[in-house]
Each structure stands twice: as structure tokens, then as C-alpha cells.
Amino acid sequence: MSKLLTVKNLCISAKSDKETVDIISDVSFSLKKGEMFAIVGESGSGKSITALSIMGLLPKNFYISSGRIEFNGKDLIDISTKERRNIIGSKISMIFQDPLTALNPLLTIGFQVSENLITHGKMKKKDALEESAKLLEKVGITNSRERLSSYPHQLSGGMRQRVMIASAISMSPELLIADEPTTALDVTVQASIMRLIKKLCKDNDSSLMLISHNLSLVKNTCSSVAVMYSGSIQESGLCEDVLTNPLHPYTKMLISCLPKMDSSEKLISISGTPPAPSERPNGCSFNPRCPNATDICRKKTPELKEVKKGHFVKCFNLEGNQ
């Protein structure tokens, strides 16, 4: 299968009045057509910034300092704004975390869903609204025709997220980026939204890039995963490798600190807190919290090594961890 998206050695920095801080360092991954890929990590690990950089939506003081992002063989960084506009929204689209802030409160649902169809699909307004109603039905909103004229505040959180999804899939994008699509929602709604996203990706043969902090959600949705910590990928590979046989101490501990339904053993917690981007330690960024850290971990930064076909780990101490 051909590569749909390739991110290579991506580095992102943030400029402030005083200093320049590296936010993302050396992140590489690729997505095949139809693949379900996930990035997991805690807040501040850089997972959302990675997604935003693909969309070209980085905050003002952030910039890509090196690396490449290729979509269908086309570079997405040095592209003109006009060209980018043709791709974003039609070939790549994104579902944001908080449906309340991502929808414009002053515009009707119909306007916001049909906007994409009018700009990218070159549809007439009347046809676009017709199509929007169909899309809303597809994502499970009843009375879709009446809903077109409602405003976001008239809908519940789950319904708003469905509207976001409807507008994101309106052009059957090749890549759908979902940034924590269910974090703001109740569990029962979460389940149905995830089912919906999975089904739509399958129907359209789209690839999914899911950004999440929920390991079990990732395990049950995606086929491959990258674990991010402190701005770089620590471990990546197929879900069955990374999440069932983790090799990096961070991944291992992250899994063991989740309460399990079928056991009541005491949770293993990771001591300390993730470092702020400006206070990252020398050497491996996880070393202050790692139980097996040795001298080399404090001095040198490990590289992402392939330990098994397709399973990459960034750690010096692999033998000690097995």
C-alpha cells in the first residue's frame, strides 16, 4: 500500500520574547491509506501540536524549524496558502476536541456543515443544504432537516460533536484527524461516537489519525500507535506490540497506572510530573521518572531503534526492560 502521509524528523519550536523553546523534536511517522493510527500521550506531550502542524494551524509563535510533512507525495510545509486551502477541508479534515468552541455560536448548523461543500465541492447553496441534511442523518441526528436551522447552543454535547463530524467528512477526506474527539463527552456517548468515526472511515476508505490519552480507546480503535512523551515519540508500532508487550518503561508504567476492571491490585504510579518544554532534562527526557535510569540515560539522548519489524523503541536499557 502506498503512503498517504509521511512526517519526517519534524521539529517545532515556540518563540517568546525571551527564548526559543523546542516543543516537538524529531517526530517521524507515516500512515498508509485506510490505516487507523493513534498518537497517545499526556497533556503537554505535543500530540495536538503535531496534528495542528499537519493542518497548518499552528499558533502564531510556533514554527516548524526542520523536517518534512508529505501528503500524497506533496510537501505540506512550503506550500502556498492557496494550495493549502485546496487540501485542507477536502482531502484532510479534522475533528476538534471541544465541539462547543469549534462551532461558531452565531451561525446555524446548516451553514457550518454546508460551508465546506460550497467552497470545496462547488455546490449551489440549495444543493449543499440538501446534502448537509443527508450528512447529519448519516451521523445519527434525527430530524436533520429541522436541525439545519438550529444553532449550536440548542444541541447537546454529543449532538454537537456529531455535527463536527458531519462537516469533517462532508468531502470524504482521505485523512481524518480526530483530536481527542470524545474527551468532553459522557462514556455512553463516547462509545457511539467512536463507533461512528470507525464506520465512516471504513465506508469512505479514509485513514484516521486519532489523538488521545485513553489507551484502551486507542487499543480498540486503531491498528498502530505512537506513544509521545515530552515532545518526542518514545515507542511506536502495531497496537498489539506496543500496548500488549510494551518495551519502553514509560509505556509500561502508563499501562500499569490505569485501574483495571478485572483486578483490584494496587496501581503502580509514575512518580514526578512531565517536564515543561523549557525544563526538559539532559539525556532521555523520561530519565528523572524512570526506575531503570542509568548514567548514560542522563547524558545522552537515545535514538528510536527498531527492535522487531515495525516496533520502534527509544531507550538505552532494552535488555533490562524485557
Binding site: 455512553t188 508504567m253 490505569l258 494496587k266
Partner: protein, 317 residues
Amino acid sequence: MIEPLIKTVKLKKYYSVSSGSFFNRKKTIVKAVDGVSIKIQKKETLGILGESGCGKTTLGRLILNLIKPTSGKILYNGSPIQNINPELQIIFQDPYSSLDPSMTIEESLNEPMVVNGIERLEREKRINNLLDNIGFSKNILSRYPHQFSGGQRQRIVIARALTLKPSFVVADEPVSALDVSIQAQILNLLKDLREIYSLSYLFISHDLSVVKYISDRIAVMYKGKILEEGNSDDICTNPVHPYTRLLISSLPEYYSQHEDSKEIEREEKGNCVFYHRCPFADNKCENAESIKFKLLDNNHKVRCLKAKKFYQTKKSG
């Protein structure tokens, strides 16, 4: 029988909400908590599980007497609670907004004790003891909240709740604002403190696996009513109420088993609060006068007409 530490009897809290246009105001009554009777024994943790808007936070605040109930009684050690009782404390969800940013940690920790007239020496003793137990050194006392991360702040908030030596603490979603790696630290801390200070918790959360980890018993709430209550293991391994089952099948771990479970939506009717989403509801449910708790074994209570039938088919199947 031993007197429970906390007991509520048919606790109700109704709010009236006006809606509609300016000229066409309609008043509706929202039943935030609707006839909740719970008992919490000494050193016991009761987990309240529910989705947003089910009334779990209102229930916690009612018990502390932070809001006045519409009707019903709350008994602490057998006697009704008057005013705000320092032996009952609360830990809030958001550690960023529950510490005063202009007060040092020492001032924050001292404030409840000063208000309750505790002497300086005793205050220092308690603070030192608490800092030991939450894993901080003394030099954090002169710092301000913004110098701490979310998990550290939550630990300080927990210490502050314990300064008055409470016997009962309401923990209102204490870990939902935290990252997974920090969440485990706080859960373990709460468990340890329960042993050290012989505390009872009312642990409110929407996360089933978290509730199960910390609670002895779980009560599942929906639209102001408790639908199922029992030992945590019973609720998690042998859920009976259709709503509890829906909650459990919504966990990503169980997606594959329930991939095609249907979502039902029908009109709200009758007295069962879950009727409009229940896949098993029929005419009987619609016309039932009132849905009472059915007692299965082992203190496992379920508010469903078909509880016995579900329970038996589960047992035999």
C-alpha cells in the same frame, strides 16, 4: 445494627427552571436529586457513578449541607446535620480553581483551622503530619499555587480537606482533571489516607474503572435516582440494570463485544427514568405506578421491574 456514619432518607432537591421566550415563559421542575436514600458506614467508600447531569455532584453537596434539600433527611452518626459541619469535608474536581492564587500554601492550609479556632502549635503539628503523608517537604509552605502542577495542587487540596480531622470526605471527581500517570498517584494517596485517618469517602466519578478501584460499594445514578447499588465487584462483574450494562459496554475494553448493541430513543413515559433509552422496556414498564428497588442477594439492589429475570438469566447463562 451499627449506626451508619452518614445516612440520607429520601433526599430530594428540585430546581425550578424557566424556559421559553420572554412572553411565553414556562416553568419546569428539574429533579436534580430525587428520593435518594444511602448509607455509608465508618471507613467505607461509596462510589457514585453517573454521567454528567445525573445529580451526583448535587448529592455530594446536599450531604455536606452546602445546599438545602427540598425534602428528606441527612443523618450524621444518627443525628441530623445542622449548619456546616467541619467533620465533613469535600475535595473538588478542579485543583486549579480550588486554591486561592494569592495565598501561600501555608495560608491555604491554615485557613480552615484558624476559622475553627485551633491553636498555633496544634496547627503546625497537623500541617507537618499532613505534609509527611502527602509526600511534600516543609519548604513548599511558602510557595504559591501557580508554582505547582495539577497533581501537586490536588494533593495540597486533599491535605487542606484533612486539616480539621474529618471523618467523612466527599471526593467530587478528584482525578478527572488529571493525566493518567498523575491519576494513579492521587488514587493511591486517597487509599492510603483512608487507612491512616480512618476516613469514609463518597467518591463521585463518571469513570467506572476509577470508581471500582477505590470503592467498597457502588451506586449508579441516573436522572437523580439511584438505579443500582451493590458491592463494587458485583456491580462490575454482574451488572443487572440495563443502564449499568450500557455503561459497562461503553468502556473501550468491551467495544468488540457490543459492537452492534442498538441505541434506543423513544419518548419519555411512565415512572422509570431510563424508559426512553432502555432496549428491554415494554408496556409494563410504561404503566408501572412506581419502580421500587428489588433486592437481589448480597445487598445488591436494582431499581427495575425485570431485575429478578435479568439476574436469573445471567446466573444460569
